[in-house]
């Protein structure tokens, strides 16, 4: 879950990084799949992160709840 403010911040940051083009979240995830062998390690790590987050292996900042799926698996140290 993200707060409204957090969501706005994330959007702002995303626009700054990604520029004017909306790459599509699903299409970005898909790139891991179509990469074939090259994507296996990335997919495995993403799934492991998702699993570890669900098990509570990473301490989360105050007020932040665990991510629910692969798309929110950024490490707390980088958020």
């Amino acid at each position: 879950m993200t707060t409204a403010t957090g969501f706005d911040d994330a959007l702002e940051e995303e626009q700054m990084i990604f520029g004017y083009l909306d790459p599509g979240s699903g299409s970005m995830i898909l790139q891991v799949v179509i990469g074939g062998a090259a994507g296996i390690a990335v997919a495995a790590k993403a799934l492991r992160q998702k699993y570890q987050l669900r098990r509570g292996k990473y301490p989360l900042p105050d007020g932040e709840e665990p991510a629910e799926s692969i798309e929110d698996t950024s490490l707390p140290s980088e958020s």
């Binding site: 994330a10 995303e14 990084i17 990604f18 520029g19 004017y20 083009l21 909306d22 790459p23 599509g24 979240s25 699903g26 299409s27 970005m28 995830i29 898909l30 790139q31 891991v32 799949v33 179509i34 990469g35 074939g36 062998a37 090259a38 994507g39 390690a41 990335v42 997919a43 790590k45 993403a46 992160q49 991510a67 799926s69 692969i70 798309e71 929110d72 698996t73 950024s74 490490l75 980088e78 958020s79």
Partner: protein, 453 residues
């Protein structure tokens, strides 16, 4: 006086402006940084030398409000993907992928993937949007993947796999089909094809499921890399290369072997050469160019030629033969030519607004407009006058064999009046002076060289 190019505004880091005959690209700080990262690479030098990338030099004329300015050569003619043939879009797609592959090896990426960033110069695709390049940030996915599929891959699949021309779709919806739309269009075709499964069906499903969610950090920490993008590009390149369109002799592919065409071709060529000697045109617009025979005569005389036709098969062949020539191929139906459209109705200009000819060739054309498209003869003559330059035109009388075919099931009263030669001459003399004329051996066709009054 700087005038912004109406088709260049989406990227805030980089915008093209015209300064008289000069083409400048104005950059903000981020755009300037991206340009300098690109300019340092061997990739940039070699891609410019190979004419895969447009020549670019940093300019000292930096207007207030910009961090930097680049200068490009002005291209003879700008065309849009909905005016390209299958082979043109395919060549452009392969160039896009090859440039991304090579750029990534040099630590640079291309942040979008639209065919509007590619133009055809001397019959070959050239990437013209230097502002699309920026330093690759480790962990970032390929931002242009979705756009590539919508604007290159799906249109090529439409033609190659479904047999449907992509141009009407790209003209009507310039962003191209969405993955969900493409999945609908494919139906049960290519059910077991890996390219259809991944890029169309799976992308449509994942896109629906992930809409509005943020994935960037997750991909980065999971180790997304340039090598993964390059693996994707390799696979996509192989898929694009496998897409073919085998057009037969349908439409007007066989036009050159028609009896009346072969008989009159030499005389029409000589008549055109006389007009060229009279006008010394820098730019010639060949309307109804077909196999490009007369375009070739104008190009051999040193003119830039825009060859327009509505038959994709003949233009596809002409494009494949045009490498190294000053000939630009434009696929459009002259009874419904490319309009001005896009944002504010000015982002993409009409084909007429881009043409600026010094001489128009209208051989084998106006009887199609009059008898097939039901355009009144007076409208056709007035339309030729709008180009505001000399015109060589072939008049075909109602008694001509081809006119009989074009009339088909129409009855005489369903045709517009003023169709015979005397009528045509009268209509022409309202707005043109007749400089030269000759009858062709068929006896039912005549050529006129016209100068605007």
């Amino acid at each position: 006086m700087l005038s912004p190019d109406p088709g260049s505004f989406r990227d805030p880091a980089s915008r093209v402006v015209l300064d008289g005959p000069r083409v400048l690209r104005l950059l903000d700080l981020r755009g300037l940084e991206a340009w300098r990262a690109l300019a340092r690479t061997d990739f940039f030098t070699s891609a410019v030398a190979d004419r895969r990338l447009i020549e670019t030099a940093e300019s000292n004329d930096v207007p207030p409000g910009s961090a930097g300015a680049l200068e490009h050569p002005r291209l003879p003619f700008i065309s849009y993907p909905y005016e390209w043939t299958f082979a043109m879009l395919k060549d452009a797609a392969l160039l896009q992928l090859d440039l991304l592959r090579d750029a990534l090896s040099a630590g640079v990426t291309i942040k979008d993937a639209t065919p509007y960033n590619i133009q055809f110069v001397e019959g070959r695709p050239m990437f013209i949007d230097i502002g699309s390049f920026e330093a690759y940030q480790p962990g970032e996915p390929w931002m242009g993947y979705r756009q590539f599929t919508r604007q290159f891959l799906f249109p090529l699949m439409l033609r190659s796999w479904i047999g449907v021309p992509f141009q009407p779709w790209l003209r009507g919806a310039m962003e191209g089909p969405t993955p969900a739309q493409m999945a609908q269009l494919l139906g049960s075709r290519k059910r077991f094809h890996m390219g259809a499964l991944l890029h169309v069906r799976l992308q449509a499903r994942v896109e629906a499921r992930m809409a509005g969610r943020s994935v960037r950090d997750g991909l980065k920490t999971a180790g997304f890399s340039a090598q993964l993008i390059q693996a994707n590009v390799r696979k996509l390149r192989s898929l694009v290369a496998s897409l073919e369109w085998a057009h037969g002799d349908d439409g007007w592919s066989d036009y050159g072997s028609c009896e009346h065409v072969a008989r009159d071709r030499a005389a029409k060529g000589e008549f055109l050469k006389s007009a060229i000697e009279r006008t010394h045109p820098r730019r010639v617009l060949d309307l109804g160019a077909n196999d490009g025979h007369f375009s070739g005569i104008a190009a051999a005389a040193g003119a830039d030629v825009i060859a327009v036709d509505y038959d994709e098969a003949v233009l596809d062949d002409l494009y494949r033969r045009s490498e190294g020539s000053s000939l630009a191929v434009v696929l459009t139906d002259l009874a419904n030519p490319s309009p001005a459209q896009g944002w504010a109705g000015t982002e993409r200009s009409s084909v007429a607004d881009r043409a600026h000819p010094d001489l128009v060739i209208a051989y084998g054309l106006i009887h199609h407009l009059i008898y097939h498209a039901s355009i009144p003869p007076r409208e056709v003559v007035r339309w030729l006058r709008t180009f505001d330059c000399q015109v060589v035109v072939e008049f075909v009388s109602p008694a001509d064999e081809m006119v009989g075919k074009l009339i088909g099931n129409k009855r005489a009263h369903e045709l517009h009046p003023n169709r015979d030669e005397a009528d045509f001459r009268g209509l022409v003399e309202e707005v043109f002076d007749i400089l030269d004329e000759t009858n062709l051996s068929s006896g039912t066709r005549a050529l006129f060289a016209l100068r605007p009054r």
